[in-house]
């Protein structure tokens, strides 16, 4: 790329270990650029989810004993203990592998985060509900069912609702951890189409559920193996001319 987009999240020499002694990330350095989809792929246990969960500090939930290196969001070190986690998590939204709709109506699922953020204006809430549902390609399907329990939606709809819920908060970065792993091909297609639209406005960080999806969606791709970043580069280069033998083996399905 002749004119690369600005770096949104800069990860430098990040290492992280869980309390069970297993080292989960080893010296990972990675620049995530805005207005692009950066894909993290590799076999299970490679540290992809851990990396995502470090960027919004969700790992504080589980037992992390050791962290070194830095993660900077717009130049600001988010591993700093003084970081305001609530505002960080609003700037860095996350969609999980299995859709987790909260036990509320469709509408409340969307307004919950906004109300937490202090948004009370009903007109503004209604506008954000519609806009985020449209952006997640779900509006047509749920327009008349906004007050139904969210659990009544199909799996694919639930996952897009989760995406919409994150979008409603107007974050800067959206991380998606295998967002289509539980979906059928048609729903998967819809989510992928949404992502291609969304990347113009947001920074997207995606853990795909297959190499094929990685190749389809990646503007930039990072291949991770056992906690290490093996190779990182523009998607079209990495999937056609991988520099590392291990990357090539994985892409061609020789292990994984």
């Amino acid at each position: 790329m002749s004119n690369p987009d600005p770096v949104k999240v800069s990860i430098q020499h990040l290492s992280l270990a869980y309390s069970d002694g297993k080292e989960s990330l080893r010296n990972v350095s990675l620049d995530v650029r805005s207005h692009a989809i950066t894909v993290l792929f590799g076999p299970a246990g490679g540290g992809k989810s851990t990396l995502l969960r470090t960027i919004n500090r969700l790992n504080d939930l589980t037992d992390v004993v050791h962290v070194s290196g830095s993660v900077r969001l717009d130049g600001e070190d988010i591993l700093d203990p003084a970081t305001d986690l609530i505002s960080l998590r609003r700037r860095v939204g996350m969609v999980f592998a299995r859709p987790v709709v909260l036990p509320m109506s469709v509408r409340q699922n969307l307004t919950y985060g906004l109300e937490l953020a202090g948004e009370r204006n009903p007109a503004r809430l209604a506008e954000l509900v519609e806009r985020s549902l449209r952006a997640a390609a779900l509006w047509e399907e749920v327009e008349g069912r906004l007050d139904d329990p969210a659990i009544s939606l199909s799996g694919g709809q639930q996952q897009r609702l989760c995406l919409a819920r994150v979008l409603a908060l107007e974050p800067e970065v959206i991380m998606l951890d295998e967002p289509t792993s539980g979906l059928d091909p048609i729903s998967t297609g819809k989510v992928e189409t949404s992502l291609q639209e969304l990347k113009h406005e947001y920074t997207l960080l995606l853990v795909p559920h297959s190499v094929q999806q990685a190749a389809r969606t990646a503007d930039y791709a990072a291949f991770m193996l056992e906690g290490e970043l093996i190779e990182f580069g523009p998607g079209k280069d990495l999937f056609t001319r991988p520099q590392e033998q291990r990357t090539e083996d994985y892409i061609e399905g020789r292990f994984g």
Partner: protein, 297 residues
């Protein structure tokens, strides 16, 4: 018929019989209660039953003071047990660090298994005199004392069941809310508690059931005066509950007498009340399930 199919057949029948036996027992208990208690409805005019005086030796069988006593103590105990029990459950399930949690849960469950007569004894020798001095009452054996004690007895039940319900809420819910920028308290209030709603309601109902059915402890600390409780001041006067009346008087009553039948009538009332509470609890859970099933289909 081969050996395995025969043992299979016997086992199936055995398990079936065990399952149905509880229905049979409930039926038998209710039949027995009816047989012994129903005559009271014939022997005592309805007007005398719905009266304020319980003095069986002279033929006064007014049930109002006993029903009132049970209600006052139960409401009082509910106000103690439900908030404290739920807060404790929330603390154990959501807030406590792992070591504290692993210590607290078994301790609370141990507490649930304490014989109530022991707690009643503590109530008589420690709680009642203390309350009498503290509140400057003529006697510490009052409805209030009973409420506190019964509340304490019901807390472990509420905690144990509610904690299980909260613990069963998938961690992913909490993480999703957290990723949306919710604080710990906001997650508990808007996500975890609503998701565990039916289990929490069951905990409350079981706690209330425990309180209504409790006999020994309540008999020891409530003063046993069959007076209709009226107004808030009644909380600090002796009362008598339905259970305590049966326990105290059954031993000295002539079998087949009017008094005997009246005591069984109280038993029927208690049976119906617990049945009502259980049905209420079941219907709450059931209503939620059917709603979920309806929307899922």
């Amino acid at each position: 018929m081969s050996e395995t199919t025969r043992s299979e057949f016997v086992l199936t029948r055995l398990i079936k019989a065990a399952g149905y036996s509880s229905i049979l027992f409930i039926g038998l208990i209710f039949f027995f209660l009816l047989r012994e208690g129903a005559p009271a409805l014939v022997e005592i005019p309805l007007g005398s039953l719905v009266a304020a005086r319980w003095y069986p030796i002279e033929g006064f069988f007014g049930l109002l003071p006993l029903i009132g006593g049970s209600i006052v103590v139960t409401i009082g105990a509910t106000f103690v047990a439900v908030p404290l029990g739920l807060l404790t459950a929330i603390y154990i399930a959501e807030v406590a660090p792992r070591p504290a949690r692993e210590l607290l849960k078994p301790l609370v469950e141990l507490l649930a298994g304490l014989p109530s007569v022991m707690l009643g004894f503590l109530g008589v020798v420690a709680l009642a005199p203390y309350l009498r001095k503290l509140l400057d009452l003529p006697t510490g054996l009052a409805a209030f004392t009973g409420s506190l004690l019964l509340g304490g007895i019901a807390i472990p039940t509420v905690v144990s069941v509610a904690e299980d319900a909260l613990d069963a809420v998938p961690r992913t819910y909490r993480e999703a809310a957290k990723a949306l920028g919710a604080t710990k308290w906001q997650i508990i209030w808007r996500v975890t508690l609503p998701a565990a709603r039916s289990g929490v309601l069951t905990a409350v109902m079981l706690g209330i059931g425990r309180v209504i059915g409790e006999t020994m402890a309540v008999m020891m600390v409530t003063g046993n005066a069959p007076v209709v409780p009226t107004g808030l001041a009644a909380l600090f006067r002796p009362i008598r509950t339905m259970t305590a009346t049966i326990a105290a008087e059954m031993g000295e009553v002539a079998e087949g007498s009017v008094h005997y039948h009246a005591l069984f009538l109280i038993g029927i009332l208690l049976f119906l009340i617990s049945l009502g509470i259980n049905l209420l609890a079941a219907s709450v859970v059931f209503r939620q399930r059917t709603r979920a099933e309806r929307v899922l289909s």
